[in-house]
């Protein structure tokens, strides 16, 4: 049976690379973003990738995509916008826009996919809110709350918060490796590089 993955933020960056890797591994991939040109680039010459233009901040639009998709076995929610500049200098409206996309967007994706996974007693749900900032912390707290409520029902919940500057492929490697860890290991970290041997043997 072919497995279906939903990848948000699939037009660029981590989401695009996640969508391509899953497509390479013969998953049916539903790739979602607001940027249709970027989506077309991600899905080029990939017949098992299906693109849907959708803003995750719009709960109705997310529900519509899922109604067309059918059961989803893995979610990689990578749609997140980075706030511009220091937190203190951001206008309230700007912060509200970031929280709406990054936090409320994550909630929309979870509410559209997790109940089905729980019903089937299987699935993998990755929330990738970015490295730092209030919205990433909020998504991490939301993941903890989900785990506390639903943690023992067969669905793997993961909140992925890599260190700044970690290449996307190392983040995805860390996500893959996290699948083999106990379900309770909800938080996935990734570093820019593995520690080189010279550092291991350096005198302290």
């Amino acid at each position: 049976m072919r497995r279906t993955a939903l990848v948000t933020g699939a037009a660029h960056g981590l989401g695009a690379m996640a969508a391509r890797r899953l497509a390479a591994a013969a998953w049916d991939v539903v790739a979602v973003d607001v940027d249709e040109v970027g989506l077309a680039k991600t899905s080029l010459r990939s017949p098992n990738m299906h693109v849907r233009a959708c803003d995750v901040a719009d709960g109705g639009a997310v529900a519509e995509v899922l109604a067309m998709t059918g059961p989803v076995h893995r979610v990689v929610h990578a749609a997140a916008i980075a706030p511009a500049g220091p937190v203190l200098e951001q206008a309230a409206g700007e912060i509200e826009h970031v929280l709406r996309t990054n936090v409320i967007g994550a909630i929309h994706v979870v509410q559209a996919t997790l109940p089905g996974m729980l019903e089937r007693g299987a699935g993998e749900l990755f929330l990738c809110p970015g490295a730092a900032g209030p919205s990433a912390a909020a998504v991490a707290a939301y993941t903890d709350a989900l785990w506390a409520e639903q943690g023992d029902r067969g669905v793997l919940l993961r909140c992925v918060r890599p260190d700044d500057g970690t290449p996307h492929r190392l983040v995805l490697d860390a996500m893959d490796r996290s699948l083999a860890r106990p379900a309770a290991h909800v938080h996935v970290r990734a570093r820019p590089t593995r520690r080189p041997p010279a550092m291991i043997f350096a005198p302290r």
Partner: protein, 241 residues
Amino acid sequence: MQAHAIQGERVTLPVRIRDAAVGSAMFAVPAGAAQAVIGYSGLEVAEPLPGRAVCSLAFVRYADGDLGPYHEFAVAFLVRPPGEPPSPGIRGRLRGVGAFIHWLPVNQEFTLEAGRTIWGFPKEIADIPMDLTGRVQRCAVRFGGRTAIEVAVKPGVPMPSGAGAPSVDAYSCLDGVTRRTPWTLTPSEVRTRPGGAKVVLGDHPVAEELRGLGLDRARALTTSTVGHLQMVFEGAEEVRA
């Protein structure tokens, strides 16, 4: 600019792979038996040591490239450049060697058609599950649920990044036509070690050939993993071997 129509898309050459990851193992095999396997191409195996040829198994995840995302498994042999007699010494015997691609299953239709049409690569469709992120990297090639081959590669030690991009010739033989394809590789995040491969062979004809070469019992010369690989494939030219 050379271009090919593949499934309604225009694929221009050279074809560029921007991000791939690889696990591979090289084995010393009896040269006579290896020559019998690739004799259909008209090419001759290289013998770094007299009587020994080199067979390479590789599994590749193409994440970003001109042929779309896919998984691939390769069985290749080092071959001498056609029409040139072997030079003396180990360096002479390795001068100008290329990689003859004997078998190249893939798991996606676009790259299947592109590979066969543009370069005559012996691609066929298979299920190719792969784990490139575990400590031991693994790959299997399956047809309708039956396993043809499984390869596991243990972790090696990090290698320094090379300065230049190695260029080799890839050879292929499809429908009686032997071709040469200039191929450039730019690897990074390379780890390698002696030995370190485990091969399990199933009941596929190619698995039978590899069993005849002793690959299910042999210790690998070396195994390698490449975390990030970029490649360029030029157009193919026919070779009169």
